[in-house]
Amino acid sequence: MIDLFKDLVNWASGPTVLFTIATLGLLAAFRFTQVWSKTSAKVFFAVLAVFYTASMWDPDFFLIVAKPDNIPITGVIFLVFFFTWFAMHQGIQNDRRSAGEGEVLEKQESEKVWVWPDLVYTEMLAMVILSIVLLVWSILLAAPLEQPANPADSPNPSKAPWYFLGLQEMLVYFDPWLAGVVFPTLIIVGLMAIPYIDTNPKGNGYFTFKERKAEIVIFLFGFLILWCLLVVSGTFLRGPNWNFFGPYEYWDVHRVEPLLNVNVSDFFWVKLLGRPLPTGGFFAALMREWLGILMVGAYLFVLPVVMSWPRDKFPTGFKWLSCHHYFEKMGATRYYLGVSLFLMMMSLPIKMYLRWAFNLKYIVAFPEIFFNI
């Protein structure tokens, strides 16, 4: 019975399955907001805690999770879940209050009070508690120290520090110049640009969900799924040769995964026309990659314009695509900036699914000049 459960969990934590479950779970939670109640939170945390402690008995699970540097990631899981729940919970309560006739909690308590001693006291207590946590954590857990550095012997797998594992996980799907340089810069620039793109005046200074639904959904999808989930899976579920390993599987170095990733140009020329890729100068390369260039170009440049059209222009099935009201509300520059950033963000899940579905490696591949998307 236990093995059956373990196999189920191993299967469920596969990159494809885990990612899909998490995304759908998150979207469902946004749709049915009663999920964020106190009781469901208690239940969820109880289940998570039980699952975690129970799994400690499995040697493989314990081996990975109990590694000193992976303890903070367990902390990340619990803390991020808790605080997301806590924010959403307060938001929904505030929505319920303002829906009725009352005011949001923050409005009710907006009278001025003395900072001394209240705030200073709570801060000191926070410091004391934090010190305790740090001291106990340092006593119980020694900092890791492996063999001395040896540039000639690369460990398998060799991982970046845990907070960059999101980027390293992206490396599986994108070329280093995109995953390592362009996307991180876009994340930073995107984050800084949020206040200048989000023109919705409401929701400033109090928890809410209803009044800022779009922003919260996009941000939490980006933060929880595309960052925290990838960090957790990059740490716990990626083993030697960067192959996927279930939480209860032994990190066997000799495990071989069939890596038969193919480019769009291979699809078109080899699979479709049965002819080898055209080789030769610059134009031959352009001819080889024409389909990929077309797809990327459409996605990045044509799609935003299409999305700005009003709803009636769209055939029945694609009404949701129209963001015309945003176009009006935000003005052209903010709209295009916002949408292209959003599309760039969504390119990651799209590339992931293309990889899982069609073993797609590169949409556009110019290895001669290191330019692969």
Binding site: A152, S154, S158, L171, D175, P176, P240, N241, L259, P367
Partner: protein, 184 residues
């Protein structure tokens, strides 16, 4: 008496320019200010450039990038020689046409693949990239074949490996004569 507790100023969307007419810059003073600020910014720019240049060392105390690896006939045809992997991070391979040397740095993320004699392929432990003896990549995430290092004949007839020169297959540099030693 300390001045009254600072009232948090009501947040105004955009602070208006301070009241009072700023003294107009007279025609007589303008040249000095222009020169002053012009020269000052130029000096700051020069200073920052110098600081930037500071971060690029002129001399690197690295071991010499060229070494001699014995005479051509020490290398049997069709054999991948791993004697120099540990010390110089280079494999030396001899085929029918001649000798070429491959750098042991995996083109995916810089790990060091191993030569598996049984499967006659290079296998990278980091992310599973696989390369043929020729260096061409055929499996795993490695985007490009292994790079060749400069190989030539030293005056004394020994094979001279120059690691400072790298040749990429996909950039068509493998037919550059410095990237192989023809022994037909």
């Amino acid at each position: 008496m300390p001045d009254p507790p600072a009232q948090p100023a009501a947040p105004k969307p955009a602070p208006r320019r301070a009241a009072g007419a700023a003294k107009k810059v007279t025609r007589r003073e303008f040249p000095f200010l222009a020169i002053g600020w012009g020269m000052f910014t130029a000096a700051m720019a020069a200073g920052l450039t110098a600081a930037g240049r500071f971060m690029f060392p002129n001399v690197l105390t690295e071991p010499p990038s060229t070494f001699t690896a014995g005479f051509p006939d020490d290398f049997a045809i069709g054999v991948v020689d791993t004697r120099f992997k540990e010390r110089y991070q280079v494999w030396i391979v001899r085929d029918e046409e001649g000798i070429y040397a491959l750098s042991t740095i995996c083109t995916h993320l810089g790990c060091t693949p191993n030569w598996l004699e049984a499967e006659s392929k290079f296998k990278c432990p980091c992310h599973g990239s696989g390369f043929y003896a020729s260096g061409i990549n055929f499996e795993g995430p490695a985007p490009r074949p292994l790079e060749r290092v400069g190989v030539s004949l030293a005056e004394d007839g020994q094979v001279l490996i120059d690691k400072s020169r790298l040749f990429k297959f996909e950039a068509g540099q493998w037919n550059d004569p410095a990237s192989f030693l023809s022994l037909t």
